[in-house]
Subunit: 107 residues, 2 copies
């Protein structure tokens, strides 16, 4: 039906899936990497850098924001997007935990 049956899964499974979904697009990975590379917070040229239209970038930024990864503060007309380190480490742990709990028992 095109809609995930989230109610039959655990909160943890749904949460990790939601995070993975944000990472499931190369543009969003590129955005995260670019922001991380920048010395300051002038993320103005994200559009030129990535090569997607401004509304598209804005949409992607919004997806990243939804899982609490971005903090945005206005500096005049410019928006300063920063990665929320605490949240970032939280996500890292979630993934790591998942990977560690999966192991081979057969074959």
């Amino acid at each position: 039906m095109g809609v995930s049956k989230t109610h039959i899964f655990s909160t943890h499974q749904n949460e990790l899936a939601a995070i993975a979904k944000v990472m499931a697009h190369p543009a969003r990975l590129a955005i995260l990497q670019y922001i991380s590379k920048q010395e300051g917070c002038i993320c103005t040229d994200l559009v030129d850098e990535i090569g997607l239209a401004q509304p598209t970038i804005s949409q992607h930024l919004n997806e990243i924001k939804k899982i609490g990864l971005l903090e945005g503060t206005f500096e005049g007309k410019n928006l300063c997007y920063c990665i929320d380190t605490e949240r970032w480490e939280e996500l890292q742990s979630l993934f790591q935990e998942f990977f560690l709990n999966i192991h081979q028992n057969c074959c």
Copy 2:
């Protein structure tokens, strides 16, 4: 247009995104966890266990297979699905690497 512009991103970005996409559904996380929990490889009851229709489960298994995570061998009519440990660790490293390379420089 509903289609990702994969050509403007690096191979690495596209690859990680593709892997994340597989993890971006709770059913697929649940499948991986269930297979991992099983002592043997009798994955027959995946359908009952997860609560989705058999074609749907089959479809999800196929997505997981596409990134090389599942090895399936037939044991008569039953299919034995196992996690490819080597590939699993490869994916784990890819994620870890990505997480480690993102860091805060501002704010």
